[in-house]
Amino acid sequence: MKDRATTAGANALEDWNRPPVFETEGEGELLEVSMGPHHPSTHGVFRMDVVLDGERVIKLKPVFGYLHRNHEQIAQGASYLAAMPYTDRLDYFCSLTNNWAYALAVEKLVGQAVPERAEYIRVITAELTRVQNHASAIGFLIQEMGASGTPLMYAFREREKILDLFESLTGSRMMCNYMRFGGCRVDPSPAWFEATRKVVAGLPKFVDEFEALLSANEILMARTQGVGILRSELAVNAGVTGPMLRGSGVNYDIRKVDHYGIYDRFKFRVPLGEQGDVFDRYMVRILEMRESVGILEQALKEVPAGPIMDPKAKIRGFRPKPGEAYGRIEAPKGELGFYLISDGGPNPYRYRVRPPSLINLTVLEDMCLGQNVADVVLIFGSVDIVLGEVDR
């Protein structure tokens, strides 16, 4: 028994085919720590096998799959429409952008047009989603730094207002299930637009307040600047997208690159970081919130009247012709893509999700090597993941 245990431990170390970066100093021994899966900083159930030399991380192995729900297989067995509510449960903070990505993929597959009004509503809901996601992501990040509560509560206060808008529009706060192939499910009432304008008008004030609370804070700077640096080459090679990639200074925003939806009509800038450290990722999110508010203001001014759903779009008996399509959008966390292959049947032959959370997580070890254990939690928080999307 004893032998087996020791050899298993040795193998586990050897299996990570990366040589140790740091030699042990002095006579100390390496310590293997399993962080998670019930660690409060892991945003769900996620485990990190960390090998430590004193306080410094010399190896880190992410272990996930605790929340695996067989999403892709379920979607392949169900009709195209039936997969829509399941997409809500991928990244449950941003169900509306998930809906949009899936609707976009199916619309590409069948060549379905979307009415003008629905496009505007999609942009408005997606940008509201981005604001609330970034606000709570920053809140969690600061919480993981040890500021227990205050910034997170500020973020959640604002998020609550946005979720109230979602609830009055779609009937559910988080599991919106709102978009359909060829439009959106319900037409927002004038009262909803009024309420949205009111919330959007309050958002710049919220971001100012949030920044006054945090951006100049010396503790935050000391903890985040120069920590968890992600070089731009590595970020590009690893396929990292979203605020993480832009935090490393790569100008890549799918809203600008892919011209999906009607984003061409709005003026907005893409904030970029320089160092690629945690502080840059924090700052990129703050600035993106400001840009999103700008898009919201423009979109709310120009919403046209008209149908919300293409009258020719079918709800029942939906059978696309054989073919394949990949629809992707700039979700708050990065590139969210859905890849579909149709064989002409009522359900997709292949349904694949390209989740930003999972792929952004692949560079976790590279960012954490040589850092302190306390910073691992912080770096992990700056990736901004939701385990529902990582494990699917």
């Binding site: 009937g171 599991m175 010396e218």
Partner: protein
């Protein structure tokens, strides 16, 4: 100065703390069981079945077409068709669900059953206080527990219910008009045949005579022939 940022942040929290004593807007907490916020109109929790009139079994709109059962993403609906038929809101005899169970421990409140239902028979409830100590039986609702009157639907989703009622009334009027037109057409052909048979040997002006016969005669045969056509169906 070192610490300036921290002080600035603390000033922000102090402002919010002091503000919570002044402005009502900042005090959003509601003490739940005693105080309640009314759910928004669009709120959805679990589905229920609508019936018209006072008898839930007779007025049930569901015709057990099983579309919702097929489309339900987590497959939480179970329907068994009836062997016999009963008249629906238009008066057409229809199958009804002998069994209609929804397992709300599986249901994920996605509303797809509501969207695909062609008969406006299933709608979303906003009742959320459904805790029970019976894990299996208490969360498996049968058709009697699911049946709720149309008035209840009007109470929880007024605008949506009004639109649905208007749509159903229109459908009913259309169905009635169609039935009437069918009957009238049948009566007319019958009358025409009768008139032809009667007038064939009599006069050569049968062509000009038809308009008058059309205007005066149809009502009587129509009234007589409606039961006939329905029995025929």
């Amino acid at each position: 100065m070192l610490g300036e940022g921290i002080l600035k942040g603390l000033a922000e929290t102090a402002k919010n703390f002091a503000g919570s004593f002044v402005s009502k807007e900042r005090l959003t907490t509601v003490e739940y069981p005693e105080e309640r916020i009314a759910p928004v109109e669009a709120a959805r929790v679990f589905p229920f079945l609508i019936y018209d009139g006072s008898d839930w079994e007779k007025g049930m709109r569901c015709v057990a077409c099983q579309i919702c059962e097929k489309e339900c993403p987590p497959k939480c609906i179970y329907i068994e068709k009836s062997k016999d038929k009963k008249p629906d809101f238009v008066g057409k005899p229809q199958i009804y669900p002998a069994k209609f169970d929804i397992d709300i421990s599986v249901c994920m409140s996605c509303q797809i059953c509501v969207e695909v239902c062609p008969f406006e028979a299933i709608k979303m409830d906003n009742e959320f206080e459904l805790a029970t100590d019976d894990r299996f039986g208490g969360l498996l609702l049968d058709r009697k527990q699911l049946a709720k009157p149309n008035e209840y639907y009007h109470k929880i989703h007024p605008t949506e219910a009004a639109a649905v009622d208007a749509k159903l009334a229109e459908e009913k009027a259309k169905a009635e008009a169609k039935a009437k037109a069918d009957a009238a057409a049948k009566a007319k052909t019958a009358a025409d045949a009768a008139a032809k048979a009667a007038s064939a040997p009599k006069t050569p002006e049968g062509g000009t005579g038809t308009p008058t016969s059309e205007a005066t005669k149809p009502p009587e045969p129509a009234a007589k022939s409606t039961p006939k056509t329905e029995g025929g169906d």
